[in-house]
């Protein structure tokens, strides 16, 4: 990794960023489309007081947290190391 060029580091950084962006959009718009097209399904009770829709809505927030955590983890290790390598 330390010998990679700026172009390679840049390409890797955008590959990760765009993949995570697509994952976030797919999660959120998936949730919204389910709300729009299949209301009865989301109203299904999984347990007393918990509908499928509420679980998926809360999971959307958890996914947002998870994706930002994955990005920070990746950037702090791989991306920062590559950038330090380029500076030398």
């Amino acid at each position: 990794m330390t010998h990679s060029t700026l172009e390679a580091v840049s390409a890797a950084r955008w590959r990760v960023a765009i993949s995570l962006t697509i994952a976030m959009m797919a999660t959120y718009f998936g949730f919204i489309l389910l709300v729009a097209f299949n209301k009865p399904l989301l109203g299904t009770l999984l347990a007393p007081g918990l509908s499928l829709g509420m679980l998926l809505g809360a999971l959307t927030i958890v996914v947002a947290w998870a994706l930002t955590w994955i990005y920070i983890k990746w950037a702090n290790t791989h991306y920062d190391t590559s950038i330090r390598g380029l500076r030398r």
């Binding site: 840049s10 489309l33 709300v35 347990a47 918990l50 829709g53 947002a64």
Partner: protein, 509 residues
Amino acid sequence: MTSLGEPNVTAITFFVLFIALSLGITVWASRRTRTADHFYAAGRSVTALQNGLALAGDYMSAASFLGIAGLVTVSGFDGLIYSTGWLVGWPIVMFLIAEPLRNLGRYTFADVVATRLRQTPVRIAAAIGSLAVIAFYLIAQMVGAGNLIRLLFGLPYEAAVVIVGVVMLAYVLFGGMIATTWVQIVKAVLLLGGATLLAGLVLARFGFNPLALFDRASAMYGAGVLAPGRLVTDPIDAISLGLALMLGTAGLPHILMRFYTVRDAKTARTSVGYATAFIGFFYLLTFVLGFGAMVIVGRDAITKIDAGGNMAAPLLAAALGGPRFLGFIAAVAFATILAVVAGLTLSGAATLSHDLWVNVFRGAHADDREQLRVARVATVVLAAVSIVLGIAFKGQNVAYMVGLAFAIAASANFPALVLSIFWRRLTTAGAQISMIVGTASTVVLIYLSPAIQIDILHHASASFPLRNPGIVTIPLSFVVAIAVSLLRPVASEERRFMELERQLHMGVE
């Protein structure tokens, strides 16, 4: 019964304490505000955790605290659709915007777009979009402040608007970004702490099991409260709103400006992580608060006072902790508004003075003293304008304005910003026309939409069917930027992109 709408001694005490503390911070900050770097960017000395809290304080408005809790109380599950929408823009900010912005710019997002393009046209177009976002957002906040403070403290609407305008002016004028940052941090801690305590008191009644709370709500109001209701009926409108919330977050001038207050791109990255954690946690809490108010206070008691349910959280506080806790939550709501309008005004001042005065009018030949002076004059002008507009819009339905601000941010600012970071062939004309088309098309389509034609002008129908135009205006703005740039390529601007690639990743060395 509750003492809502009457002067509440505890509320006024907490409120005076907050004002005293924040003005104390302002005095302290004013001694440290000597250069434009201090005024706009807090001397780049804010830490990641501090900036994460300040971002949360800048973003979580009274609309999201009182409004979403109220929406959950009135429509149950549907409130969650908004909660998720307000959060999902933050990962996008982190993946695509925060670090390049910090590495390429100085004070405003226009710095990034203008880096390798011609300054004057780009900055004027960016200023139009930014000022439109700030104006609509500020009007919504000022009108909200007037109504809220009248309901909470029994103060006249006009007096409330003037107090908010003058206190906010004091923060920004004397303390600049340093005072604004600390006011936002204090507000975020108070809001997160207050909401956590309130949610804790609710859950304590249900054995700390949220499902028992939701189950009780469905026993009282029917299983419908746990299922999607009427909020999302048209899928295209829902996607359109979602796009505007998500991408608009990544185009809000007052949020983007905060990334310049930290030392480097890595700190900016970490600060978005904190902000996402805090804001997500807060929206989960509002869901509990909404259901708590529904069960403990009751829907009828809440909608009797405000049909939109906006008083759900304060009434819940009164029911659980008496007038003292109500007073505390009311003061927190007031602090919330102050922190948001201070951030908005500061970013407006940066647009007027840094983008328009210094870089367009003076051709970047202005010394530090002149920059500071112009920034402060701009702050006074903006505060005066926001007070006048706040009073002018008294009694009007401004619910569409926050949505409009997000739609313009997503359609005018976001496409130009992302393309200037990612796409080497973007030209000055492409960026400029895209920003103007993004702003104009959003304003026109909102005017033609049911939100104005039916809700406000009371016409029978609207010529544009969607309440939120994002699904049309965001792609339009991208297409315009790409088409104009490809039709008239500028080789020198493309070469400059290659030179800047190093700075994008490594900052200014």
